[in-house]
């Protein structure tokens, strides 16, 4: 059993998928609460790999902490029924600002204006990613497709940029997205993620990617191209199709968009792109 749980394919693939599917199935009657499955999948992977610890509070651990708290904030918003038009903008900007705190220890070591410029760029990326994913909050199929594709894209970009830990985080997120898509596919009815799901996906994928940029070797162009995934998933595509067909088509489109950042990361890795 121990050998099985030491297998990376189990740690970042099978186990988070199974846990996410179980949690989503158990919570589906409470609508967006089912999207806590994404957090459950990530927690499963973390428990099986590095464990969960917050001391000292390094950037990686701050990422873990924020990724854990984001869906809980989303759940509170969903349960309270807050629907103010400015809320997605406020949440996106807050996530962008929070990224400065998350990576403060790295940014503070940069010389001159470099730290400010990098922090500004990363903050903008995080805000845009969270904003784009929040647009999908009422469309469970688009949200699931974006989660699956973003997880794969951030994970593969990470392994191409010397971070296998983030590859596993990305794959765990993707497995959660796959579990939620599978549940919707099997039920034949969409299950909107609400703020719970959108903040889970948006914050996790943004911070995993930003972490790979800050702490490993991911380049700017690949980071920016990751935004294409939620942008494509948010296009008004296949609106009249049956949910099962639409979920497959949306996943294919989001997956195709994920090839752009992966291709750029690969191009940078093999020496073609400027750093």
């Amino acid at each position: 059993m121990s050998t099985l749980l030491d297998d990376p394919m189990v740690q970042a693939g099978l186990a988070p998928f199974a846990v996410a599917l179980l949690v989503a199935t158990l919570l589906k009657r409470w609508r967006s609460a089912a999207w806590l499955a994404l957090l459950a999948g990530l927690l499963c992977t973390w428990m099986l790999t590095t464990g969960i610890s917050f001391t000292p509070l390094s950037s990686s651990r701050k990422v873990m902490l924020v990724v854990m708290l984001a869906p809980l904030l989303g759940l509170v918003i969903d349960l309270a029924g807050w629907r103010h038009r400015a809320l997605p903008i406020v949440l996106s900007l807050a996530a962008g600002l929070l990224s400065a705190w998350v990576f403060q220890s790295v940014l503070s070591q940069a010389e001159g204006a470099q730290g400010w410029l990098t922090g500004l760029g990363v903050g903008l990326f995080v805000a845009l990613m969270v904003g784009l994913v929040l647009r999908l909050r009422d469309d469970g199929l688009a949200g699931g497709s974006a989660t699956l594709a973003l997880g794969v894209a951030t994970g593969v970009c990470a392994v191409l940029s010397a971070s296998i830990g983030t590859l596993m985080n990305g794959l765990a997120l993707a497995m959660g997205g796959a579990a939620l898509l599978a549940l919707q596919f099997l039920r034949g009815t969409p299950l909107a993620g609400g703020y719970t799901g959108a903040l889970s996906t948006g914050v996790a994928s943004a911070l995993f990617a930003a972490g790979t940029f800050m702490l490993a070797e991911l380049r700017w162009p690949a980071l920016v191209l990751l935004l294409a995934v939620p942008a494509v998933a948010g296009l008004p595509l296949f609106a009249g199709r049956a949910p099962r067909l639409r979920s497959a088509l949306l996943a294919a489109c989001a997956g195709a968009a994920a090839l752009a950042p992966i291709g750029m990361a690969w191009f940078a890795t093999t020496g073609g792109a400027a750093g």
């Binding site: 030491d6 390094s58 392994v159 010397a162 971070s163 296998i164």
Partner: protein, 196 residues
């Protein structure tokens, strides 16, 4: 007569007083490297080292006291696999990432002694605090050799040796890929320095 006795006593005591003075040796950067060894997939023991280390060591042979402070440049890590070629990453790139040494966030590792133990008039081990990834833990390094002589080029007194010890990387929060990449790390610090 009394003056003569005092003079004789002073002459006898002079070399002893000189010996009792603490001696400080800044590290020679070209002959001072920390290296490490870790088990890989339960098979081989892989070696790596850090090319840049700074600091000094001080000891007092008569008083049998001493101290040392070392700072290791984490980004100077090398395991002999730094060119990635067409691969996604080299082993050195991966070891420098947040999965392991997280060099962008924690650019330096430090060791600060708390006590130096002696065997004869030379240090035999040093107890201290190793700070890695922002976590400080007590570590004891044993001197496999500690010898002093003369630098043949500048004729200065010179000491050097090898200090060995073991740590568990998980104690410092470096938990990625355990047990595929072993938890126990064998340390070997080679050092030399001319007397200041």
């Amino acid at each position: 007569m009394k003056t003569r006795m005092t003079l004789v006593a002073a002459l006898i005591a002079a070399p002893l007083m000189c010996q009792a003075a603490p001696e400080t040796y800044p590290l020679d950067p070209t002959h001072s490297y920390p290296s490490f060894q870790v088990e890989h997939w339960g098979l081989s023991m892989m070696n790596g080292r850090f090319d840049k280390m700074s600091g000094s060591f001080t000891f007092d042979r008569a008083a049998k006291t001493g101290s040392t402070e070392l700072s290791i440049d984490a980004a100077s890590l090398t395991t002999g696999d730094s060119v990635k070629g067409n691969r996604p990453q080299s082993r050195d790139d991966h070891l420098k990432s947040a999965d392991f040494f997280n060099v962008k966030e924690f650019p330096a590792m430090t060791f600060k002694s708390t006590k130096v133990n002696f065997s004869g008039d030379l240090p035999s081990s040093v107890e201290g605090t190793l700070t890695l990834l922002g976590v400080s833990k007590p570590v004891t390094l044993t001197f496999e050799r500690f010898k002093c002589g003369q630098n043949p080029f500048n004729k200065k007194d010179r000491c050097g040796g090898n200090a060995v010890g073991k740590i568990k990387r998980s104690d410092f929060g470096m938990k990625y890929a355990i047990p595929a990449v072993g938890d126990e790390i064998a340390l070997n610090i080679e050092f030399e320095g001319d007397k200041q």
